[in-house]
Symmetry: C3
Subunit: 310 residues, 3 copies
């Protein structure tokens, strides 16, 4: 399994890359941490287009900051402007326009497959910043990078993923990314939000070791990493059912009293109340570090795609 490579490649799903590619990326990202608050002028002649058909301040700003820190420039649109645009023009023509203006395109879209479609049209590399409910590859790369920065290793870890395992787009990408490593997965969710059959089949086909429970207390003591994603009220047909369930999936000091001493809690953010604010002050809380690493990780990604390795 050799290097699939980064230079001039699209980033549509994590499965477009492999473990060796991740190692190259992570090694580059460590280097980029030195410049994440200053500047490294290596993409001065590049323009990055951000096509955010769905708003996402955090992901958008981390890409934007990463590009600017590398000396590049950023153009694009997001939110309401994008909505009104989407009405007037088909996606293909919009992508063609951005392709002729910019050197790479970051796209976020509510429709499954939008990023792949864009990549088929554009000559410039296209980076998927989240489409549909299944893919958010750069978030998964960031998640893995944070785990690796915390433990110096990923193989051998026991990793819990807690929350909406059915619809949260990052879950799918994260599990795919973890499939390149020898980890033990504990999937934790209400019955209603269990992983889709496709994800279970994927894990089986890759020989991944996993179990599922609806109660985090059952596995908290075994975890090295607890990855939390939000459970949205709208997923429940019955609001009363939601109210009954949500407390059980809220990470608080009581749950953590049974945790390993060096447990690492991650969250893609933004959070609402699925991680209690009292947890922020514990040494378990690494989600803010995780958010901060989004800039050097994406600097590394942009460098590898637009300029290649050294």
């Amino acid at each position: 399994m050799g290097l699939l490579g980064w230079f001039n490649h699209d980033v549509i799903t994590v499965l477009d890359f492999n473990r060796e590619d991740f190692e190259v990326l992570f090694s580059e990202a460590v280097n980029m941490e030195k410049y994440a608050k200053s500047r490294l002028d290596i993409l001065n002649d590049k323009v990055l287009a951000l096509a955010f058909f769905e708003p996402s301040t955090r992901t958008r700003l981390s890409f934007e900051t990463a590009m600017l820190r590398l000396g590049g420039r950023v153009i694009g649109f997001s939110g309401t402007e994008a909505t009104s645009m989407a009405k007037g023009e088909n996606l293909a023509d919009t992508i063609r326009m951005l392709d002729s203006y910019a050197n790479a395109i970051v796209i976020r879209h509510s429709l499954e497959g939008a990023a792949k479609f864009a990549a088929e049209i554009a000559e410039s590399p296209v980076i998927n910043a989240g489409d549909g409910s299944q893919n958010h590859p750069t978030q998964a790369m960031l998640d893995l990078y944070t785990i690796w920065r915390e433990f110096n290793i990923i193989d051998g870890l026991s990793i819990g993923i807690l929350g909406d395992l059915k619809y949260a787009r990052v879950v799918n990408s994260l599990v795919q990314a973890l499939s390149y490593y020898k980890v033990k997965l504990h999937l934790i969710s209400p019955e209603l939000l269990k992983p889709r059959r496709e994800l279970l089949e994927f894990m089986n086909s890759r020989g991944m070791v996993y179990d599922w429970t609806d109660d985090p207390h059952n596995v908290i003591g075994d975890l090295d990493v607890l990855y939390v994603v939000r459970i949205q009220r709208e997923r429940f047909p019955d609001p009363i059912e939601y109210e009954r369930v949500k407390g059980a999936y809220r990470v608080d000091l009581k749950l953590l009293s049974r945790a390993k001493p060096n447990l690492v809690i991650l969250h893609p953010l933004p959070r609402v109340d699925e991680v209690d604010f009292t947890v922020d002050n514990t040494h378990y809380a690494k989600y803010f570090r995780q958010a901060g690493l989004g800039v050097p990780l994406r600097m590394a990604l942009l460098k590898l795609i637009l300029k290649g390795g050294d």
Copy 2:
């Protein structure tokens, strides 16, 4: 008729310039094509203000990209933000603010004459990116430039303009720009959307050669260039009349079966369905090239206005 000149000049209508100016612009734009995907640092100390009181992603991003590719910086507003602003402050005060911040101002506004008004107030050069229903000079310059890049000449061409000839703001500017050349114009539109009397009078006063028809089939075989603009449903008092008419003005393979082999189809974009998607794959389709040339053309424009010729 000598050079009217670009340096430090406003760009309000194409009639502010002449054929010699266009030649200077086009020659500069050819040079800029070399840098349209990289960077030429000649406007490093300049800031361009974009005042888009009306949204226009394509025009806005092409100005923004052009400025960034020249090493400059961009500030401004567009869309909903502009709307709420327009309520709170008169246009004159907004322009004075931008004038004191930036080195040049690009304005787009729904009101006829807004750009001229802005130019009277601002000391910095003002560029009209579309105001009212009559002027969009930089689009017309881009249209001419694309034609010139395709044929190496404009004189002698037979040019059809198809669609809403009454309200589409680019039509007026394009005809004005073409008045500096010896072309044959075929105007093609429904009766309801024929050119305004003022435009006909303008063409007469310039001794332009033109005819009008309501059926593109009548002239398709004679055209070197077919310029298509959208027909908007709202223009028709009776929706049934619109449905009856629109098919006849849709450019498709059937219409093109009677075209000259080197016909060039242009469109200012965005399009809805007035050019059928099957046309995209033919060698006639040059509207994507046209869109892409928007960056080098506007790089040339910004260079000439903010820095002058060499």
Copy 3:
């Protein structure tokens, strides 16, 4: 009373600084006027985050222009995007994100105390671009700077502040800033919009010389500076009362016929009609100069905070 200092400091209220700090700032700003339309590359490795939870085109663009003129980069959000974001995430998490991306944060928020709260969370310096109804320190610094540029001195001047003295957020900051100087203050407002008791107590505690009147004609002849703020219709429970009152607080040529020859009229802008447009052409009108000085003043501020004095 020594220098409190600027380097790496938050700017939450003008009371965080003193007269000596202002002198350092103003001296730096005079220097920056040379570069306010070009560029001085001293913040190349810095990124400024603009967190405008409330829209403010003028303040936002002047910060953005200032940062870009110093070679820095800008990221952020404003207006509707901010609104939707505010729903999904608590302020603390948003600030933590920006803190990890940027080297300094400019915040504008409708809630009193939001800037102070942000400063407590962020490690990077936080600049208050207006929060609640009491603080807008950089506007007050700009106001003082403009006065100083006009008169070369602030001590000894007679300064009128006219309009909504109760809710206009800049009034509080301006009075605080003036407390470091020996000025005579004439406060002019309808009875309903008199200064709050806290502001009166502040002026008393600082031994400031001031009086109040509801009629500008009473004091116009004594003024060196007339600072005008808007009176908003919404402040009046009874619309008829508003209509009756507003004319009396409108600055026009008739009022100015009794002014000193070198009276200076300032206004934070945007204005609606509280300064008549005929006043714009008089030599009294300095509000456009004031707006323009916003860029060099904020260049000086950003330089001192992010790089320090020389």
